[in-house]
Amino acid sequence: MIKNTVLAGVGGQGILSIAYCICKAALNRDYQIKQSEVHGMAQRGGNVESHVRFSDDSIPSGLIPQGKADVIIAVEPVEALRHENYLKPDGCIVSSISPIKNFNNYPDPKKLLERIAQAKDHVLLNSKHLAKVAGNPRVENIIILGAASDRLGLGLNEFDTVLEELFSAKGEKVVQANQRALRIGRRAAEIYRESLAKGQGPHTALEHLEQLPENAWDPEAATPGKGG
């Protein structure tokens, strides 16, 4: 077994925190891990990418070969597509639809979504909206991680421990918001896929998610300890 994940986003979105969560959860399962990232000037609003690989066998390369990624996890839609050449033909894209338009000629957001939706296995989420539902605008990255968690084959409970370690210095409230975000993301991905299965398009599926009342996410979607 080897699981190859490309993480992508814009500097400041917490891409490397997602990487940390996956690596740590995989380490706790005694997997071999390779994680590669590019920083430097990237942290000034440039694009950030990280390759995360875990396996029960040794992994030779820190970089995922093109065409070998199982999942792309992106907190920004352009960044999801930037790394599409890494994805297996039947691979999964989990991406936020919230654009960060900090460069010229930013593509038409509608067309971006339609391009991502061409992947047979994909989830699009308004992570900005869902982070608000989770009670903290800074947890967009963990919403997206939650949405991708089943494709990683790692349980929510396994991430709970890691989130606790990662955010405990920032207080219990931040830990809880992240754990809640994880579950909201997971649940939102399920609802999104259900909509697609009913024959709805991505736009309708997204609208449906945004129209859900806030209490739709409680309690079963947002209680730590469930859904793992």
Binding site: V10, G11, Y20, C23, K24, L27, D30, Q32, I33, K34, Q35, S36, E37, V38, H39, G40, M41, A42, Q43, R44, G45, G46, N47, I59, P60, S61, G62, L63, I64, P65, Q66, G67, K68, V78, E79, L81, R82, H83, E84, N85, Y86, L87, K88, P89, G91, N102, F103, N104, N105, Y106, P107, A119, E165, K170
Partner: protein, 545 residues
């Protein structure tokens, strides 16, 4: 990552470490007394790991803390490490590849003085120039200095090669280089490490100080010693268990460092390729000869310059053997090595993927919202609109982004501190106004000596020092000096106090700042304007100090 997996009874545990961190921990476990460095991507995390270790719970426990302070520049860092070695302690010195240009003088000469306490230099090269101004390959420097190099292929090797390098350095009485590349420095992997490393190692002081006093008579003797050590270094590389030759089919591969992982990723462990992996230099000539004799065709894979390939090919080629690599176009001369490039060079078809190429516009980095440099540039750009012949010489830091729109405010970026010397040369060559934009840390790194000349000749130029009280671009390391001390430092170089001005780069001070800048550009002689406001990243609550 902090929590490790412990293996009962083995004295080992598994940690997830960056290549940089594996080196740092290897050095700690080898018993170093200090690490010396100047921040530079992708080598910064080496010193940072040890500085953090000093503060962590693992420290204490009978292990002495490690000296882990940033130096003014890489040359000073190297000299400090050399001095620690002289004193009989083990020392690590780390830097990015271009930092070794700054430290080249002590580095090359330290091969003559030799090492007393183990002295290991880690250089992180940046093929592909992720955050550098060139992609020079440090292996040439090691060859130039005639010292051994380790080039680990993964994090695990980075750890144990560091342990070994310190032993080797003391045995040989020579400094040892470890070469990293960005992709290893900034990648994590599982690393089996010792539960407890050595405490601080002491080997005693230098026996014969004349060995370290490189006056011609001594230097000739020491150079002869270095040359005489050549065959010994050669045989060490030849016998090294790190240089592994596996003969199989008639097609051969020579790969160095991380290229091995990319080869393995593509051909798998049960390959018919004959493979020589090189991770310890000088080149293991006999192993190379064996491979060449066995194979008809050899492909050389290296992340960096064609260092091995050029030597293998020589000027006369090898008759009857095809050598593929960067010189033949099987691999590109420039950029970072990838699994795909290796695959193509071996004539294998690429894996199918959803799309072949990404066609999206790049997302260039930019100054943070609220960054003081924005206000500095806004004022400068407004003044310079009246001076179409102005040239602004830039330097290395976040403010290099001032070269991009909307500012398009600087016209050069060459090396640390270059702006001041270049501006003086340009002013003497007829440029007016000749201006400089340099950060506080870059100034203390390599700008001081340039300004000393400009001040004492009172050259007609205007120097902006953007003082944000930190080394921002590499993640906010503490600047050596700031505030009033910084102003006194500049004054002490001989800058006329009447033309040493300070401004606060804030939108509300814009008009005032524009006026001051205009006055100083009009001044016939040297002016220095210190534009001081702290980086917003270090002012955030919870930000690194």
């Amino acid at each position: 990552m902090n929590s490790a997996k412990h293996e009962q009874g083995s004295g080992m545990k598994t940690e997830i470490l960056l290549g940089d961190e594996a080196i740092a921990l290897g050095a700690l476990h080898a018993g170093i007394a200090g690490v010396f460095s100047y921040p530079g991507t992708p080598a910064t995390e080496i010193l940072e790991y040890l500085a953090k270790w000093n503060q962590g719970s693992q420290a204490g426990n009978g292990r002495k803390p490690v000296v882990a302070d940033w130096s003014a520049n890489e040359k000073v860092a190297y000299e400090e490490a050399l001095g620690m070695s002289y004193a009989g302690k083990r020392a690590l010195v780390s830097m990015k590849h271009v930092g070794l240009n700054v430290a080249a003088d002590p580095f090359i000469n330290s091969a003559l003085t030799g090492a007393n306490g183990g002295l290991v230099l880690v250089v992180a090269d940046d093929p592909g120039m992720h955050s550098s101004q060139n992609e020079q390959d440090s292996r040439f420097y090691a060859q130039f200095a005639q010292i051994p190099v380790y080039e680990p292929s993964d994090q695990q090797e980075a750890y144990y090669m560091t342990l070994e390098a310190f032993e080797q350095s003391e045995r040989l009485g020579l400094p040892i280089m470890i070469r990293l590349v960005t992709r290893l420095a900034h990648s994590r992997g599982n690393v089996k490490v010792l539960e407890h490393g050595k405490n601080e190692v002491t080997v005693g002081v230098v026996g014969n100080p004349s060995d370290w006093t490189l006056m011609p008579a001594n230097a000739r003797r020491r150079f002869q010693r270095l040359v005489d050590a050549g065959p010994k270094l050669q045989s060490l590389a030849e016998e090294s268990t790190h240089n592994v030759l596996k003969l199989a089919g008639r097609k051969g591969i020579i790969c160095s460092g991380i290229a091995y992982g990319y080869v393995l990723e593509n051909v798998g462990p049960a390959t018919d390729f004959s493979i020589l992996r090189i991770t310890q230099y000088p080149l293991p000539v006999n192993k190379i000869r064996q491979l060449v004799e066995h194979c008809d065709e050899i492909t050389v894979m290296e992340d960096g310059y064609p260092f091995i390939e050029s030597q293998l090919r020589g000027v006369l080629q090898i008759p009857g053997k095809a050598i593929n690599g960067k010189h033949t176009g099987h691999l590109p001369m420039t950029g970072e090595l990838t699994p795909e490039l290796v695959r193509k060079a071996l004539g294998m078809e690429l894996h199918k993927s959803r799309v072949q190429e990404s066609d999206l516009g790049s997302r260039p980095p930019r100054l943070c919202t609220g960054c003081p440099h924005i206000d500095s540039y806004n004022a400068l750009v407004e003044v310079l609109e009246s001076y179409p012949n102005a040239v602004v010489f830039g330097d290395i830091g976040c403010y290099t982004l001032g070269a991009l729109p909307p500012y398009s405010a600087i016209q050069s970026c060459v090396d640390m501190g270059a702006s001041i010397g270049m501006a003086r040369g340009a002013a003497l060559g007829g440029v007016h106004p000749s201006c400089v934009v340099i950060g506080d840390s870059t100034f203390t790194h390599s700008g001081l000596s340039g300004l000393l000349g400009a001040a004492n000749h009172n050259t007609n130029m205007t120097v902006f020092i953007l003082d944000n009280s930190t080394v921002a671009m590499t993640g906010g390391q503490e600047a050596l000096i700031g505030g009033d001390k910084f102003i006194q430092l500049v004054k002490g170089l001989g800058v006329d106090p009447e033309h040493l001005r300070t401004i606060v780069p804030l939108p509300k001070s814009h008009e005032k700042n524009v006026r001051i800048i205009r006055e100083e550009i009009e001044h016939k002689g040297l002016s220095v304007i210190i534009s001081a406001r702290a980086c917003i990243q270090i002012r955030k609550p919870g930000a690194k100090k």
